[in-house]
């Protein structure tokens, strides 16, 4: 079987080739992880909030059909128009229909991972519309013709000098100016005109409330608000799992979202929309695009609890060191490595292996998704569906066989210890040994664990030594 030309590991090679940049990327995300920790530690009720959020999402997913109908009724009552889309194509068609029937030429968008997932921009541009992404990071990647590399920080992989160059080319900022404040001001001035000239605004949705038929959108820049308060038409696109049952549930989620995402106590703007503005239109598009199928999976349905905060990415040692583009999915990182194979296991078979199973993602997830368990479960699934690349498959067979034969295993260990000590470098570090590529192998211990354990057990014969205490306990 020939898998997609490049898996995560091969693409990560490109990213890590520039070591200084890879380290900078790692550090930038770890800084956000630390900000998140400070926020979490400042709330004594943090763990109960996570547990509550988990229960609310579990209830929502169980009762999704009823809640969606309740949402539809309430939203319609409030004056919104509700549309349903089975897949990305239908979603894109609905958006284009709304825009064309209102003679819209110019659209401003605020960040929406769903529209990224559906490749909406491309669809609208093909039809001759002008689409401007207004989140600064999202606009930077749009100008550079790249996909976002992070769901909350779309341009986290780009250096300020590169942004300066991009702005120089597109909006004529002075060449060589890479000052973030200057560049942000320039973008503000340019995008202000786009907001004022837009005929419609497209947004994502952070939370939708079944009880009231409202939607909540969270931003720091204020772009979603400008984009939906100037033009009279607002199209909000949401995955069907974005629902919350009650208005009061927002208290739990608005406390968790920004603290987990960027280490802020709340986003700058948390906007609640119930119906259109006076004389305007509000369209809500409910999109399935594979979600109902994931919901039916016993193993993976909890991945739909995700509120897209990005905390699992910020903490992931593999994501931080390999960059979002190595995943080749709209949502990268741990949660993306669960969602993507559900969409196409063959294409994304390498993603569940882009994980050390350290469990850090599970620890920070604000809705307590058991991310690393699901990643492990996907590995099994991929193996059972015979999607493993041959090298990995036979290496696994070989290792499995070796582990079933303790004497041979001991012999292999002995050989490995000797070989690593005495073999010349060229015999260890070559293309045939994947473990020697990109890393130094450890200096082997003089004797095996079993030999050390035997010594330890015989030493514990002396009753009063502290060592024997330790041995007995373990």
């Amino acid at each position: 079987m020939i898998a997609k030309a490049k898996g995560h590991a091969q693409l990560a090679d490109t990213f890590t080739a520039d070591e200084a940049r890879a380290r900078w990327h790692d550090g930038a995300l770890w800084f956000i992880r630390q900000k998140r920790d400070r926020q979490a530690a400042a709330l004594p009720e943090w763990e109960s909030l996570r547990e509550m959020a988990h229960q609310i999402k579990a209830y929502t997913l169980e009762n999704l059909a009823d809640l969606l109908e309740q949402f539809e009724r309430a939203a319609t009552q409030a004056g919104a128009v509700v549309h349903w889309a089975a897949d990305a194509q239908e979603h894109n068609r609905i958006v284009l229909d709304i825009l064309q029937s209102n003679n819209v030429q110019r659209v401003v968008k605020s960040k929406s991972m769903l529209t990224e997932e559906c490749h909406l921009n491309h669809h609208l541009e093909q039809a001759g519309l002008q689409v401007v992404d207004t989140d600064l990071g999202e606009w930077i990647v749009q100008l550079r013709n790249e996909p976002p590399s992070h769901i909350v920080l779309p341009a986290i992989h780009i250096k300020k000098e590169e942004v300066g160059e991009t702005f120089h080319q597109h909006i004529g900022t002075p060449k060589g100016n890479a000052d973030p404040t200057f560049l942000t001001r320039a973008a503000r001035g340019h995008l202000r005109q786009q907001f004022l000239g837009a005929q419609a605004g497209i947004t994502g949705v952070n939370f939708a409330i079944a009880e009231t038929g409202g939607i909540v959108i969270c931003t720091n820049e204020g772009n979603a608000d400008l984009g939906t308060s100037l033009p009279p038409i607002h199209i909000a696109c949401m995955g069907i799992e974005k629902l919350l049952p009650r208005f009061s549930d927002l208290a739990v989620f608005t406390r968790l979202l920004a603290r987990s995402a960027t280490g802020q106590p709340i986003t700058t703007y948390t906007s609640h929309f119930h119906g259109p503005m006076a004389g305007g239109q509000l369209h809500l598009i409910l999109v399935d695009n594979g979600r109902t199928a994931i919901r039916e999976s016993e193993e993976f349905h909890r991945s739909l609890h995700c509120i897209r905060c990005g905390a699992c990415m910020n903490t992931c040692p593999v994501y931080r060191r390999s960059g979002g583009h190595s995943y080749q999915t709209t949502v990268p990182g741990p949660i993306g490595s669960i969602l993507a194979p559900a969409r196409d296991a063959k294409e994304h078979q390498s993603l569940p292996f882009a994980c050390t199973l350290c469990g850090s993602c599970t620890d920070v997830c604000p809705v307590k998704i058991d991310l690393h368990h699901q990643l492990l479960a996907w590995r099994k699934e991929i193996s059972q569906r015979r999607l493993l690349p041959a090298t990995k498959k036979y290496a696994m067979y070989g290792l499995g066989w070796l582990l079933r034969h303790p004497r041979l295993y001991a012999l292999a260990g002995w050989m490995g210890r000797k070989a690593l000590r005495w073999m010349p470098r060229w015999m260890i570090y070559h293309r045939g040994n994947a473990w020697g590529m990109g890393r130094e192998l450890p200096v082997p211990p003089a004797e095996s664990f079993r030999a050390q354990w035997r010594k330890r057990s015989s030493a514990s014969g002396q009753p009063n030594s502290s060592r024997s205490e330790g041995a007995r306990r373990s």
């Binding site: 009720e45 349903w84 600064l136 204020g222 400008l226 009650r246 709340i266």
Partner: protein, 200 residues
Amino acid sequence: MSDASRQQILQQLRRRLPTACSLPETLDGDWIRYPDLVEQLGRMVTSVGGSFQQLPTVQDVWQRLQSFPEVQSAQRVVSLVDGIPGNVDLAHTADPHLLEDVDFLISSGEIAVAENGAVWVTDQQPKHRVVYFINQYLVFVIPRSRIVATMHDAYRILLQRPLPGFGCFVSGPSKTADIEQSLVIGAHGCRSLQMYVIDG
């Protein structure tokens, strides 16, 4: 077409019967309490990039504001606060685009949340909600009695009122860190935010 998808989605969602799963109470809980709400609010507003001051009355706030060069040179000021004069008549502004060059918005807030510095504003009072986002400088004047500790308290109050078509929690000035994680205050919304807590 959309209707067929609606049926299909709902049908597929109903294929799996719900298991017993209950919703937790989200308004009452053992939430954090602050010994001094004003002090906590001030700390949070400052930490999210705003400035904060306590003054006795609206008149004191207006006096203080007039000492700022930005206010002295402001061409267009929208005031939603009694006792502070503005020079833009929102009620007679037909199109929100005409608010493009508003320098200052001086607004009250219905609720202020001490845990995160957020202020709840709605489209009930100003005719155009864009006024909260299109201004260059935002000033909040908040009576002390409107401060609550957490978001749970805030939503409890909101549930007792009719829902506005639009409502927003605003916490600090607009900001972005999308260029190399350097925090820049003043993204698309206001470039500075001042909060004054007054008696009452």
